[in-house]
């Protein structure tokens, strides 16, 4: 590799060679590889090494001191145990629901906030602020707000004659309720990404549309939506990755309960780790890795390919 680089280096460094000390520096140039050394080492030791070794340890029974090869047993357990299968299903529900709603709601709010209305700055701030707030704080607050009897949400619903459900206590509803809180917290980010995308659309498009006598709806459908596609790609990718990995909000609000009803892969990984099943926990990490990679990489490729058309 060094030899292939040296020719281009030599040409690039031609001015340097004319300098007083140019000869001494000709070999490494002003862009030395050793700048990679410290960050590369940290990244390799604390990210790459664990990631690669996780494949091996997921096939073992492991107590951090000794590991014994047990083949696919961990994976069999993972896909045979009801609780863990629920976790897999919930992870997908959670990721798809949060990213889908963030795309639609983020786009709608961005359209609203780029139109000619009053109080835009205030609205943008108030929608965005939850993005910055501690997930734990948000989770604890909403756990109280969603309390079935005393919580503000059900009291407000009761005031208008609706019997509110047990948001976090009903097993079939818990994961959806947490996803709604996730959307509450994250929709501000989707909105500002869309606003950035919409603002960057060249003014000529709107002028041309006006000349053609297009309605506001025509402009939204034929100009803003298609040209905001890079923003859509970002919002989908970001919220899908975040949704598949999500742990903090779920752990704060239900700890995966009631029972295992709102467990996701990340909470299963934590529970297996706490229980001392390190091999099984690592198999969970590998499953999560595969899920994220197999969903996000092809999706990215597909979205970016159609973008080029």
């Amino acid at each position: 590799m060094a030899s292939t680089l040296s020719t281009s280096e030599a040409t690039r460094l031609a001015p340097a060679a004319r300098g007083t000390q140019g000869l001494r520096r000709k070999r490494s140039g002003p862009y030395p590889f050793w700048f990679y050394l410290v960050p590369g080492l940290i990244y390799a030791v604390f990210f790459l090494l664990p990631t690669f070794s996780s494949f091996y340890y997921s096939f073992t029974r492991w107590d951090l001191f000794t590991s014994r090869w047990i083949g696919l047993d961990n994976y069999r357990t993972f896909f045979a145990e009801q609780a863990l299968v629920i976790g897999l299903r919930n992870t997908l529900i959670y990721a798809v629901l949060t990213s889908g709603v963030k795309v639609v709601l983020g786009m709608a709010l961005a359209l609203l906030l780029t139109s000619k209305i009053i109080a835009r700055g205030y609205l943008r701030s108030v929608i965005f602020f939850p993005v910055l707030v501690s997930t734990i704080g948000v989770g604890l607050t909403f756990t109280v707000l969603l309390n079935p009897e005393r919580g503000l949400v059900n009291q407000a619903l009761g005031a208008v004659g609706v019997a509110g459900p047990g948001w976090l206590t009903n097993p079939s509803l818990a994961i959806v309720s947490i996803a709604l809180v996730d959307i509450w917290k994250g929709v501000g980010l989707a909105t500002v990404i869309y606003i950035a995308g919409l603002v960057s659309i060249p003014q000529e498009y709107y002028e041309a549309a006006e000349v053609d006598g297009a309605s506001r709806w025509d402009v939204i459908r034929n100009i803003m939506l298609p040209l905001a596609k890079p923003a859509t790609v970002s919002v989908i990718t970001l919220s899908l990755i975040g949704g598949l990995r999500s742990f903090e909000l779920i752990w704060t609000m239900t700890k995966g309960g009631p029972g295992f009803a709102s467990d996701v892969i990340a909470s299963v990984i934590y529970k297996q780790y706490q229980a001392g099943f390190y091999g099984l926990s690592t198999a969970g990490s590998v499953v999560l890795f595969l899920l994220v990679t197999l969903l996000v990489v092809p999706l990215q490729w597909w979205l970016n390919r159609t973008e080029a058309d």
């Binding site: 990244y43 951090l64 929608i127 965005f128 509450w184 500002v192 970002s234």
Partner: protein, 275 residues
Amino acid sequence: MKNTRGVVIGASAVVVTAVFFLVPFVFILLIASKDRVESSLLQFSWPKHFVLFQNITEAFAARDYLMVIAFINSLILTVVSVAALVILSAMVAYVWQRRGGRSSGLVNVLVLAGLIVPPAIVPTIFVLQKVGLFKTMPGLILIEIAFGLPFCILLFRAFIASVPRELDEAAVVDGANPVQIFFRVIFPVLRSVIMTVIILQTVAIYNDFQNPLYFLPGTQNATIQVTLLNFQSQFTSQYNLLFATILLVTIPPLIMFIFFNRKIVEGMAAGSVKG
């Protein structure tokens, strides 16, 4: 006529967002201001006895000032990790952007992998144990650096692409060595993106819960987010103290937001589009 429409839609949006986005924060403030008995009713009402400041003092003092220790831990974690991230990722992004060639393809793959791949928890703990840094602050700092590098590198790279090469070449002619070129010539030019990285990473690392939970367990070590969750089980019948703690934990991001609103919004939008 168009203007009245803007006023009507804007005003209704203000009302709707107030219900959805402000009420939860006002609720935190109200519960944090009530006495113990009244707070346990969880009502959205003005406190009969306004005891916010007593509650805050009491929450601070709980369990031998555990929260003060937790805030200090979070401060150390955030400041050291962010400082290291800024310098290290700027160095990588600089060499990466300037060089191109085959090595840059490898960096590209590593950066993208870092953005997508979820970290494998137990093997990471295993590595930390092997190097003797499990359950230590330096260990957690290294973890935050490792996980934060890819995003920061991308932000820096995009900015460095707009810094003219003539700048480095002129410094070479002047006889500066690579370290001098980077720290004296390039680094100062990056001020605006450095601010963005500092703000975004400060928010992210301060709010991080999962990594401290796994890699720095134990009450004395705990960061403020982990302590907050621990308080949930300790303050089961003291919602006023729990919400006073939530309020305190929310104040640093609020201050950041008041001062750097525009920078944060721009940085997050730009960072996610590039990522």
